[in-house]
């Protein structure tokens, strides 16, 4: 026995009211001196015992009325009472697996189509007045309707419009969502039906403690639902999938080569000796490769491509084999291709002599083809200005601004730079012999409030005493800009000698922590040391500021304080640093399903309606919002894997690819024994079809809501009280 509105059950305490009235009446009597006692005594003598019983009956009836009314309002449920078939409406929640593994066609029709058919038949068999909620589990719980629906035709109509192909099922989250939905529903018969292919990858990865928690959650509900597991589809034996595409994340320019590695896996026992792997760019086939896919083995296919036009491109790899699950045979990724990266070099020590200017080495390293008079385009285009010419016009088109040994700036320039970085720009700061460290610390660092990542302390090293020089620590670099040096074939940063450098420190003087250990009290991100000197001093540090990024180097960018510009590693270091900085502040265009697709657009496009096309072909209108000097557009409904295309200003297209993990490509399903074990753990029952479910439902015991009976009972007692009171006054003489 339980209550749906438990708090109202306390109203049963109102039974005390007639009791108190009765006792008060008995205690507050009046006294009358009476003469005709002989007439009264006979009546009292004959009816005394009977009167007591009748008064007790009346009192019991009067006390029972508020109790019944309270239980009626609290909606009493007799959990052990079997409902008659069809006489009690049901609250049913269907967890429907629409992950891409349900696209498998094991025995003719796809598993998802079978699941839809089962769901429709179950909904159609629900008794009149039932309410139903359908929750799709692929890529996370998503309800089909905003709330429970009472119209079975509307539900089945929408079910038949659904399609699969979504990300892996999130079963624990889906159970939580489904049980939460059930708690909001009204009927006392409650069913939770899970329709899935029950892949091992989905279910065996759930920890036992989570299963136990779900079971406890079910048992703790006021009206525990009857849980049913319905396995749709049959096991498939073969499947080949493209698990991922790997390529460099650094900025890619027109005409530059992109190497793409496709990771393939054969999940079945059948080997494919020469499987064709197709590589497409923007839907057009670019190249074909053949790989051997041994049974239950992984393989790779390498492709190299070059983009002739700037903009957003989509590459796709498809393995052309005939297997039951085609959805995972292809994998797409978005590749932004830049026409050029504009870098503004602010030279703090300009000179008319060759390679004497502060930014000369840097300029050569960033535009090697231009300086080498090679007919190849440089991705980076530099513009060098003196400190005094750092203006809003000069900064407006730059993706990266470099301050090279700039002594100091005026306050307008500082504000301009701060606004530039906060709005998503990148700033690279090199020190040198001209800089005013006090001004840097006071105006740019400002006790961690400024955009300078670290405070500049004492100058260390000596140009006169080479023995005091130091080197960059040879280590495995984690930062994407330096990862290229993990391959020694690309140069060794540790070869360079650093003769002079500034010591950098945090506000609290401790620069030894890594970012993971940091707990910034101000809410501002702390600097990350990208590379260190052998003295332990930080050499390159970065810190996000607003939507942008600031990188600080503790030595000069020319050959005055180190021989780094003379080393082969200087060019890739600067190239990687610039391209990484230019691309790092750009929101990713390859996202996980469910993550928002974010695009940074020019500031003048704020508020203008833009079109976004989903993988299903649906068009949505989105409007960018102003964010600093740029505008930002965001689209959150990316639960379905595939390509989302934003048509920006000037019909410029921007592609986003929502990717899901390929865990469900493993076709193994839970076997009978595992299903029974899962059902036992969840307190559920197993069925193989909707017909079996309907049959099972008829034999189930459900709680029965009895508020109608209580209401009728209370009304009956009220009439009974009136009749009894009339009848009891006619006592025997």
């Amino acid at each position: 026995m339980t209550f749906l509105n438990g708090a109202l059950a306390f109203g049963a305490a109102a039974f005390a009211i007639p009791l108190i009235i009765h006792l008060l009446n008995r205690s507050r009597f009046r006294t009358i001196p009476w003469g005709a006692m002989h007439l009264l005594e006979a009546v009292v003598r004959v009816n005394n015992r009977r009167l007591r019983i009748e008064q007790l009956i009346l009192l019991a009836v009067r006390c029972a009325i508020p109790i019944l009314l309270a239980f009626c309002l609290a909606r009493l449920v007799l959990t052990g009472w079997q409902a008659l078939p069809g006489d009690a409406p049901t609250s049913a929640v269907i967890l429907l697996d629409n992950s891409y593994s349900m696209d498998a066609a094991g025995n003719g029709s796809p598993h998802f189509a079978q699941a839809i058919e089962h769901a429709c038949q179950i909904v159609g068999a629900l008794s009149r007045g039932s309410e139903v909620a359908v929750i799709q589990t692929g890529g996370g719980p998503t309800p089909l309707f905003d709330g429970p629906v009472f119209d079975p035709k509307a539900v089945t109509g929408q079910l038949r419009l659904l399609d699969g192909g979504y990300g892996a099922s999130q079963m624990p989250e889906s159970f939580d969502f489904g049980l939460g939905t059930l708690q909001e529903m009204a009927n006392t018969r409650r069913d939770l039906i899970v329709i899935s292919d029950f892949q091992q990858s989905d279910w065996l990865s759930i920890p036992d403690t989570t299963i136990e928690r779900i079971r406890q959650q079910i048992d703790a509900m006021p009206i525990p639902p009857a849980v049913t597991l319905l396995q749709a589809g049959r096991p498939i034996e073969e499947n080949v999938s493209v698990e991922s595409l790997a390529f460099s994340n650094t900025a890619l320019g027109v005409g530059q080569d992109l190497r793409v590695r496709a990771n393939l896996r054969n999940h079945g026992s059948k080997a494919y000796q020469s499987a064709r792997v197709l590589f497409r760019i923007d839907g057009t086939q670019h190249s074909v490769s053949q790989v051997t896919l041994e049974a239950n083995q992984a393989a790779q296919a390498l492709f190299t491509c070059r983009f002739e036009t700037p903009g957003s491109h989509v590459i796709e790899v498809e393995v052309a084999v005939d297997d039951p699950l085609e959805t995972d045979n292809r994998y797409s990724a978005a590749v932004p291709v830049l026409e050029r990266i504009d870098v503004l070099l602010v030279d703090g020590a300009p000179s008319s002599k060759p390679l004497e200017s502060e930014t000369d080495f840097l300029s050569v390293a960033l535009t090697p083809f231009t300086f080498g008079r090679v007919k190849l385009p440089d991705l980076i285009e530099t513009q060098t200005v003196s400190a005094g010419k750092l203006t809003e016009d000069s900064i407006s088109t730059a993706r990266v601004v470099v301050l090279a040994n700039v002594a100091k700036l005026n306050s307008d320039q500082v504000n301009l730079l701060a606004e530039y970085v906060r709005g998503g720009g990148s700033l690279l700061i090199f020190v040198g012999d001209k800089i005013n460290t006090d001004w840097y610390n006071q105006s740019l660092f400002r006790g961690t409030d400024g955009f300078l990542p670290m405070r500049i302390d004492a100058l260390d090293g000596s140009l006169e005493k080479p023995e005091h020089s130091t080197r960059i620590v040879a280590q495995h670099f984690e930062h994407p800009a330096l990862q290229v040096f993990n391959d020694r074939g690309n140069g060794n940063l540790a070869d360079a000698e650093i003769w002079k450098w500034y010591r950098l420190s945090r506000a609290d003087g401790d620069e030894s922590r890594t970012r993971a250990e940091e707990t910034p009290a101000s809410g501002r991100a702390d600097p990350l040391v990208m590379a260190r000197l052998e003295t332990g001093d930080p050499l390159i540090v970065e810190r996000p500021f607003g939507d942008g990024l600031v990188v600080q180097v503790a030595t000069a960018c020319d050959a005055d304080w180190s021989n780094l510009p003379m080393r082969p590693s200087y060019l890739p270091l600067m190239q990687q640093l610039m391209t990484t900085m230019a691309s790092q502040v750009t929101p990713p265009c390859n996202i996980k399903t469910g993550e928002p697709a974010i695009a940074v657009l020019p500031g003048d496009s704020a508020g203008a309606p833009l079109s976004l096309t989903t993988p299903a072909g649906t068009r949505h209108t989105v409007r960018p919002v102003a964010r600093g000097t740029h505008s930002l557009v965001q689209f959150g409904r990316t639960r379905r894997p595939g390509i989302y295309t934003l048509t920006g200003p000037g019909a410029k297209r921007l592609h986003f690819v929502a990717q899901t993990s390929r865990e469900e490509s493993d076709p193994r399903l839970l076997d009978r024994e595992q299903m029974q074990e899962l059902a036992a753990d969840l307190g559920a029952e197993l069925v193989g079809s909707s017909a079996e479910y309907v049959q099972l439902d008829k034999t189930r015991r459900h709680g029965r809501e009895v508020w109608r009976f209580l209401l009728f009972g209370a009304m009956g007692l009220m009439f009974a009280e009136l009749i009894l009171q009339q009848r009891f006054t006619r006592v025997r003489t």
Binding site: N25, R28, I32, G35, V44, L51, V731
Partner: protein, 207 residues
Amino acid sequence: MGYCGSRSRGVSKHDYAVRLAACLAYLMLHQQDSVGLVRFDNRVRRYIPPRAKVTHLRVIIDGLQKSRPQHETELGHVFHELVPKLHRRGLLIVISDLFGDVDGLLKALAHFRHAKHEMILFQIWDPDELDFPFRQWTRFESLERAGDRRLIDPAHLRHAYLENLRQFRQQLTAGCHRHRIDLVPMTTDQPYADALASYLAMRRWLK
């Protein structure tokens, strides 16, 4: 006879009976009839022999004034005790509520009739005793027997009481009719002069 209900305007049954008796005495003495007085409860408390002088009225009224309702009434016993004292045949007027054992009362009345006495019974009722109008829980305390009290819900007993009352009155009326005794019920909310006049008119018409 001490009961005084809310509708009797402060006149108890005893007060009503005293005034009625005084009226009758006055009327009869002015007709040169001899008038006596017997005051009783469970036994004869005062006996004033009949006299025909007008001055005897003062004696009778004095005897009436001194009467107080007390003790339990035993009409049968009192009437048997009274019969030997009445040597001459006459008219016996009994003013009482006649509460008590009906059979005993009727036997005593038969005794009077056997002695050739004419009898008139004025039965005094308070309206409350006739319709039992009480609703809330009430403790009824006997006026005649000290310590006799009943706490009851009158609403539940009203029908039974009225039925009991009806049987009592029916039994009394039948007995009086059998012995040719006039039974005149009177209620304390009724002007006794009106009641008396209507009764005398009825007697005249019967003769």
